[in-house]
């Protein structure tokens, strides 16, 4: 019984933290960044392009480790990459010209759109990863 209560308390706490961090404003700002820099390749609904540009719907890259997806956006790739068993061959340009806040916003938007539900990313998260890449 005690255990159940503590689980409830912890989940409620998590819910509140989560609800606070994924703000409506951040989602709106993220959508604008997405439409400006990401939409052409990944498509408006995140379905991507088979064999070329990966989808953003419930893939391990998008919903997984924050640092990995931040690194990905900052560095881009010229490799043929495998995501969840499928290969994608188009180059992704590095998006390191975007501000920390813009990257935080767009990644939070992607991680909470198209059926995804993952934690928000902050400008500090991006700043920390960017610092390790210099």
């Amino acid at each position: 019984m005690k255990k159940t209560i503590s689980v409830l308390v912890v989940s409620t706490f998590c819910y509140i933290v989560f609800a606070q961090t994924v703000s409506k404003d951040q989602m709106q700002r993220g959508k604008t960044v997405f439409e400006t820099y990401c939409l052409t390749c990944h498509q408006e609904d995140g379905t991507g392009v088979p064999k070329l540009n990966p989808p953003l719907i419930k893939t391990s890259y998008v919903t997984g480790d924050k640092r990995k997806i931040i690194t990905w956006v900052l560095s881009g790739t010229t490799e043929k990459i495998e995501i969840d068993g499928e290969y994608y061959s188009n180059n992704m340009p590095p998006q390191n010209y975007l501000k920390d806040q813009e990257i935080a916003d767009v990644l939070t938007y992607i991680r909470n759109s198209f059926g995804n539900k993952s934690s928000a990313i902050s400008a500090t998260d991006v700043k920390n990863v960017r610092a390790t890449m210099k």
Binding site: L39, T40, Q43, T47, V49, L52, P55, N91, Y97
Partner: protein, 430 residues
């Protein structure tokens, strides 16, 4: 005048022993052609389409032998095999026998002078055929060309053969517009573009010589960003290709191009090639509305400046990004007279038109007379995607990719999204 032709509901084709006749007893599987197809093609009056074969996954290019065997190259292994052959033993228009062989994936496939040619994204192989056009030793292809550049973008090595013992291979540019950093805003074009020495063109090799590399072939044509649809035209005795035009004018240069201009203007061009042809990539794109060769913004273009005085003119130009993946000059007698010598083009369907609506996912036709287009292009077979709601690359139920002509003059279409092989016939409304 068009009418919707429903693909007939096809009963499950039971596996019957006589279908073994062509391929040997141990390797035959029944082809499952169960139920009607969800995508009802829209065809001109008098034409009919059936699903000749289904469930192939990524069916890229296709070729049909003079006795009606259908060879298909896959870009993803199906049951561990990368090439499949089909036969319609009972002549009901639906394949009733199939066999897979070869462990490599790819796009190109062709039959010529007793051999089946097939390409991976690195090499070109050939298999000797017997008098019934069956592959004699499926496990031991000979390598004709090897070590071709594959840097993941535009990697498909589409092939075509002439009547003088040569094979032509596309080596696509691993780049959108030869920027210092590919597809990166603010990055300008390299001048001269170093990609062109080993990619961004068509290379010519001997069809009967083993283990050729770059040094054994010649760069037949250059300045071609990427070619997937190509065909040898026996009337003009020359190679025709469909270039995939450049992407992302608006994304990379938002001050110079609107999303609409970016979606429409950079044409998908048809070129007739000869030794030494230069089609101008990456320095120019072709604006099909103005009918002009435009200087690319990566090289100082602004949407107004023309360039490429020495670059070849296209013989036909189509709206941007539709993805011409198959080209076939029709020489059959089944279709009405207007189709004779004309070009069918399989438009795989766009992605780079977003946020504008996507386009393509159809087969177009261009009438030809005396080796040149004699009229405007038109949509021949439409609705591969399965309706407006599916006109997106990740949602389309089917995407036409390869084209081939059957011995009776029927048109075969391969689909690399739904894995269907369509057979289109003309019945004249009968």
């Amino acid at each position: 005048m068009k009418k919707i032709i429903l693909l007939p509901a096809i009963l499950f084709v039971a596996f019957i022993n006589r279908s073994c006749a062509n391929f040997g007893n141990d390797t035959i599987n029944a082809v499952k052609t169960i139920g009607a197809d969800e995508s009802n093609l829209v065809l001109p009056q008098g034409f009919n389409a059936v699903a000749f074969a289904k469930g192939l996954g990524e069916a890229r290019h296709i070729t049909v032998t003079p006795n009606g065997l259908v060879y298909v190259k896959l870009s993803k292994l199906k049951d561990g095999k990368g090439t499949y052959v089909f036969n319609d033993n009972n002549s009901d228009g639906i394949s009733d026998a199939t066999k897979g062989f070869g462990n490599f994936t790819g796009t190109g496939i062709a039959v010529k002078n007793g051999y089946l040619y097939a390409s991976s994204d690195f090499d070109v192989y050939r298999y000797k055929l017997n008098e019934k056009f069956e592959v004699i030793d499926p496990e031991k292809p000979e390598k004709i060309v090897t070590g071709l550049l594959n840097r993941h973008q535009h990697e498909a090595k589409a092939i075509a053969l002439d009547n003088d013992g040569n094979i032509y291979v596309n080596i696509g540019a691993y780049s959108n517009s030869c920027q210092e950093r590919d597809r990166t805003k603010g990055s300008m074009g390299k001048n001269p573009c170093p990609i062109l020495d080993s990619a961004g063109g068509i290379w010519k090799f001997k069809a009967n010589q083993l283990n050729q590399t770059y040094g054994d072939g010649v760069r037949y044509a250059t300045g071609l960003r990427n070619v997937v649809g190509l065909d040898w035209n026996n009337e003009t005795n020359s190679l025709f290709v469909m270039q995939h035009g450049r992407d992302q004018l608006h994304d990379l240069f938002p001050d110079l191009y609107t999303t609409k201009q970016s979606a429409e203007l950079p044409a998908e061009c048809m070129y007739e090639l000869h030794q030494g042809s230069d089609c101008g990539w990456p320095y120019i794109y072709y604006d099909w509305q103005q009918k002009k060769k435009m200087l690319n913004p990566e090289y100082g273009g602004d949407g107004v400046k023309t360039s490429g005085e020495n670059a070849q003119e296209p013989v036909a130009a189509f709206p941007g990004h539709m993805g011409p993946n198959g080209l076939l000059f029709y020489t059959g007698n089944m279709f009405p007279e207007k189709y004779k010598h004309g070009a069918f083009i399989a438009f795989h369907g766009s992605w780079n038109r977003s946020p504008e609506p996507q386009k393509g996912y159809f087969i177009a036709f261009v009438p030809f007379k005396d080796g040149k287009p004699s009229g405007d292009w038109e949509v021949f077979a439409d609705n591969f995607a399965g309706g407006e709601a599916f006109m997106q690359p990740g949602k389309a139920k089917h995407r036409p990719c390869g084209l081939a002509q059957g011995p009776d003059g029927s048109l075969y279409v391969s689909d690399d999204a739904g894995g269907t092989i369509y057979k289109i016939t003309y019945t004249g409304g009968k």
